[in-house]
């Protein structure tokens, strides 16, 4: 079985700074392997080991995603090899554009049975890249995936739904988005990081990929800071719990919150 793991190399917005006009400055936010993508890598590795398959890490982004550190961090996650599309014209690319490039790369890799993604990316986090990617490939997508077993052409996938879980049988190629708790990802050790340096990486040229044109244009015409409520920030001394509780309850009653 040929399994692709789509992973994002991205920064946590918690570490970004936002200017008065709402412009986001990422310079102090260090990018990394996006928070939930190790779960996808782990599911892929387990499935490949159980079925004698191959795991290919795939990422798309600016030149940053192809830096030596980024390559090693990715390949230490249990991939057999990596395919990277790095081009600075992808700065700020939306989910549809990223998915179109990912789909072109999946077609380039060829004979892929399964793409596994994380639940949501740490920066954009709208859970749409896997679904648009599946659409670009003409495959279905299934999200909230808890476990994957079986063979290519006969996969058994358990996924969470609001009322519980469902077991699905899937006969064709598919994009599966892992739920955040589908597996506990192993932490790469020194051995994995050293081995990562020797694994093959293929850098694809964006211009050489067959990517459909966008249907229109998307332009950011304004930015702002979110209009947050001002919070009181009142400290209540908690050294005596009973006194603190009484003070809090009185304050909440006084403010009409209770």
């Amino acid at each position: 079985m040929k399994i692709v793991v789509a992973y994002k190399w991205a920064s946590n917005p918690q570490d970004a700074t936002v200017g008065a006009q709402g412009t986001v400055d990422w310079s102090r936010a260090k990018p990394g392997f996006s928070e939930y993508d190790p779960v996808a890598a782990e599911l892929a590795r387990r499935l490949a080991d159980a079925t004698g398959g191959e795991v290919i890490g795939l990422t798309v982004g600016t030149k940053r995603v192809d830096a030596t550190l980024a390559r090693k961090a990715a390949l230490s996650r249990g991939f057999d090899r990596a395919v990277i599309v790095a081009d600075d014209s992808l700065e700020g690319a939306g989910s549809t554009q990223l998915a179109a490039v990912l789909a072109a790369a999946v077609r380039h890799i060829g004979d892929v049975d399964l793409v596994i993604t994380g639940d949501s990316s740490v920066d954009v986090g709208s859970k749409m890249v896997p679904t648009v990617l599946a659409g670009q490939l003409g495959w279905p997508a299934v999200a909230e995936v808890i476990s994957i077993t079986g063979q290519a052409g006969a996969l058994r996938v358990e996924r969470a739904v609001p009322t519980g879980t469902q077991v699905l049988e899937i006969t064709g190629p598919v994009v599966l988005a892992a739920s955040t708790d589908a597996a506990v990802a192993r932490v790469p050790g020194m051995k994995d990081i050293l081995a990562a340096g020797k694994k093959p990486v293929e850098s694809l040229d964006l211009a050489a990929l067959d990517i459909p044109a966008a249907a229109g244009t998307t332009t950011v015409t304004g930015t702002s800071r979110p209009d947050l409520l001002t919070r009181k920030g009142q400290m209540i001394d908690a050294s005596d719990p009973a006194a603190a509780a009484a003070e809090l309850v009185a304050a909440l009653r006084g403010a009409g919150a209770l």
């Binding site: 077991v167 015409t221 009973a242 603190a244």
Partner: protein
């Protein structure tokens, strides 16, 4: 400029907010429904102009209809495609966006049409900033669903024959958690990883009883620890709530959590770590051990 809109439904007819949004743009409002006939009938009576339905799904999940929905909606060349922010609905929206090569926007607070195209305001990067985005060409949007309205008129349901992709549901297992609607609760007690064991939830439940509040949590408590149902976690990927009062207890207050409670009128934070980010967004801050403070607070409320 009026915009013709398609709404995509993957089995749950709770799309009132989508219908309102589509109506505000002045064009026709059509709906593509995947799921049992009863869902299509409910949508047909919700004040829309057209409903297409792809037949009884039986054991075939909504995701298997991704390509037929994308084909049907794309053939109508809509200016805007909407779906509710639910897992299966996202899959059908993504397939349609791919077919149209349309951009997708999420966390949208408003959308209008002007001569240049569609203009959307959306919250970006987990809520740290807001962007105004102008789009020429078709656009796909994820919105919060909202309850389904009942209109005075009903439109006919057109059935389109469909060959779904190869996925079948072979087993379903019910959740052990009862479902809740946090959105309706005026007070909410949120608990995070500061709680040491699942048994200690009894402390939190006692506080919630005394405060007449609903219990909620941070994401890892529902996904990972599995101590509470997934519909109880609050944040960017979970519930967005606007209660009168929110208690954040043993929750560090990461951006991705706090985005879900920004609309709360009053926030109380209890945390042992004086530097926890939650204190920057709280009205009342108690630096201390929840195991001492929660029972004291429960007693004080009685």
């Amino acid at each position: 400029m009026s915009v013709n809109t398609w709404i995509i439904v993957a089995g749950d007819p709770a799309i009132g907010n989508l219908i309102d949004t589509a109506r505000s743009l002045g064009g026709s409002v059509s709906v593509a429904v995947v799921g049992p006939r009863a869902v299509a009938d409910t949508v047909a009576a919700a004040g829309v102009d057209k409903v297409v339905w792809f037949g009884e799904p039986g054991a075939v999940p909504a995701e298997a209809y991704a390509t037929v929905v994308a084909d049907a909606v794309a053939a109508a060349t809509p200016g805007l495609v909407l779906a509710a922010n639910r897992a299966s609905d996202r899959v059908l929206l993504g397939a349609t966006a791919a077919r149209l090569q349309a951009p997708v926007l999420a966390a949208v607070s408003s959308i209008t049409a002007d001569g240049a195209g569609l203009v959307a305001n959306c919250s970006v990067f987990g809520g740290i900033a807001e962007e105004t985005v102008t789009v020429t060409g078709p656009l796909a949007l994820l919105l919060e669903g909202g309850p389904v309205p009942a209109a005075s008129t009903t439109v006919p349901v057109e059935e389109l024959p469909a060959t779904p992709l190869g996925i079948t549901v072979v087993e379903t297992k019910p959740s052990s958690f009862e479902q809740v609607d946090l959105g309706a609760a005026p007070r909410v007690v949120g608990i995070g990883r500061g709680l040491k064991t699942q048994e200690d939830l009894a402390l939190i439940n006692a506080l919630a009883d005394a405060a007449k509040a609903e219990v909620a949590c941070s994401r890892p408590v529902a996904e990972g620890l599995d101590w509470l149902g997934k519909d109880r976690y609050i944040g960017v990927s979970g519930a967005h709530i606007t209660p009168d009062l929110y208690f954040a207890i043993g929750i560090s207050g990461q951006l991705q959590h706090m985005v879900g409670v920004r609309g709360a009128k009053t926030i109380v934070a209890i945390n042992t770590d004086p530097n926890a980010p939650v204190f920057k967004e709280a009205d009342y801050c108690l630096v201390g051990d929840l195991y001492a403070l929660v029972p004291a607070l429960t007693a004080a409320l009685k």
